[in-house]
Amino acid sequence: MKSNKIIEEVLNEIEKHEGVMSRRDAMKFLAASPLAASVIAGTVASTPAHASSSAKGKIVIVGGGLAGVATAAKLTHKLSNPDITIIEPNTKSVSYQPGQTLIAGGVWQKSDIEYETEKFIPKGVTWIKESVVSFDPKNNKLKTSGGQEISYDYLVVATGLALDFAAIKGLEGVITSYGPNEVVRQKVGKNGVYSMYFADGAVDTYKGIQELIAKAKEHKGTEKLQALFTDPATPIKCGGAPKKIMYLMHDRLVKAGVRDKVELLFCPSGDKMFGVPEYHTAILEQFKQRDFKWEYKTNLVAIDTDKKVATFEKKWLEKGEFDEDLKEYTMISMSKEVEKKYDFIHITPPQKAPDVVGKSPLGSSKGWVPVVQETLQHVSFKNIFALGDVAAVPMGKTGGSARKQYNVVADNLVAIMEKQSQLPSKFDGYTVCPLITSIGTVMLAEFNWTAKPTPSFPLDPTQERWIWWLLKVYALKPMTVYGMLSGRA
């Protein structure tokens, strides 16, 4: 009956945000729609009525975000005698992070994305409300912040990642989306410096947009106000977000009638808009239409929040000597620091695996947990899997990736428990970026490791569409919260 719940929640969203139609009208549509029937058929078919495996063993899942809880739920369905423990200190760890862009854009409130973890921990699963302080994978043990030593037969690492504001000179704090953030907020969330990468920061960002609009209305003279948008040199959650906030800012400025007073400048560390050429081209066109400016290979390294000056490392290649072996000119990597004044800056912080994982035997030189990319099994420890933001896989640190990964991990973990020689399930790198291009339009960029568009729908994926806005604002959250967290969709 989970699918009914999802439809119910979609209806709730419509009612809550727009009041566009009555519940009774909506229900009539549901009853008349053959689509509704197929939703129910679809979800029921994908969920076996009986657990398929009698394999035994103690499974510990570190991290109770979307990835960890969905994995626990799926394993609960698959195992007839599940023995599962989740270690997660945050009581709101399942909150819906993709909604943070909508909060920053003034479309949602913080309460729209807040979910109590307690309500989503599957029945029978033990929840330890602590964090892990050390891993001992050779002896299948770990220690928690409360001093417990916990042993396991199988381990799933789903801690998520850390937002490393401290890596930018002038800022302090390494935080998560929903954890304590006082240190970061000493300087971020005020005086023109904003970041929607954490929930409270997203609330602040909308205030920042309002402040900039007020400032723009008072602004005289020919020099425009400067709004900067950064994108760091590390892998990040939701690669589209640094651009989404720019589109939302643009839309708000246009609506307030002050777009001509503000220059919007995108400063990414990389040299393109998107790793998939089709989407890159589409975004470039959208940027031009909106008179956005951009400077590639320009990475934020320091900020002086008193003087309102941001320092960027600008990189480029210079032609060196001719290499006889290669029959090519060698290239030399060059860099210099450039300063930019700002009236508003949106910071996408550098991101890393939490040190407790990254610097443990489970981590790697770059921190991210090294896994076989298709099976998500740890490279060195066969009884350990990793998924979500902490796993070392290219491109996708998104809920959309996690939605594919948790099924892969659950299938493969059960296979290991059953001593099967082959791991049955493979991840293909699928991820999805509903790129908000205005309040009312979204480009639904779906892709995988082939770096080609992989649309789920028979529509040109490079077009901005109103229906994807509806999908993003009304449907994805209920699908995630009630479909994915229960391990069914």
């Binding site: 999802i6 566009v20 729609s33 679809g42 892998p235 990389g270 290239m331 990597s333 509806l470």
Partner: protein, 124 residues
């Protein structure tokens, strides 16, 4: 406004249905040279005959990396970064790879990672 609800239900349905059992839509690609041929003809100039690295050519050693590490690096090089607008960690090699590709020295990331690992790392 009924249209909104209908549209929503349609897309929610499509998304739920496609959630299970979708297939990767990758094209079949063929390559002119095998990973071994590409390595010997090009990579070896800077990474060494055994992947041991050549400081004089600024080519790092690649004989101690695992297959997933190699895959991540090769993906980063060929894609110019592992994200959307995130910088590559190999800006010079990204440029070199584009040149190599123009000359036909293209390869599958997985096949090349396996070749490098099996030939230089595991053999030791």
């Amino acid at each position: 406004m009924k249209k909104i609800t209908f549209t929503l239900l349609s897309i929610a349905t499509m998304a739920l249905l496609t959630g299970c059992g979708d297939k990767p839509k990758s094209d079949i690609v063929t390559y002119k040279y095998t990973p071994a041929e590409v390595y010997t003809a090009t990579c070896a100039h800077c990474h060494g005959d055994k992947g041991e690295g050549m400081p004089s050519k600024k080519g790092p050693a690649i004989d101690k990396k695992t297959i997933p590490e190699l895959e991540m690096d090769l993906f980063d090089i060929k894609n110019g970064g592992v994200g959307q607008s995130t910088a590559t960690e190999h800006d010079v090699m990204e440029h070199n790879m584009k040149k190599l590709k123009e000359k036909g020295y293209e390869y599958d990331v997985k096949a090349m990672a396996n070749y490098i690992y099996n030939t230089f790392n595991r053999a030791k």
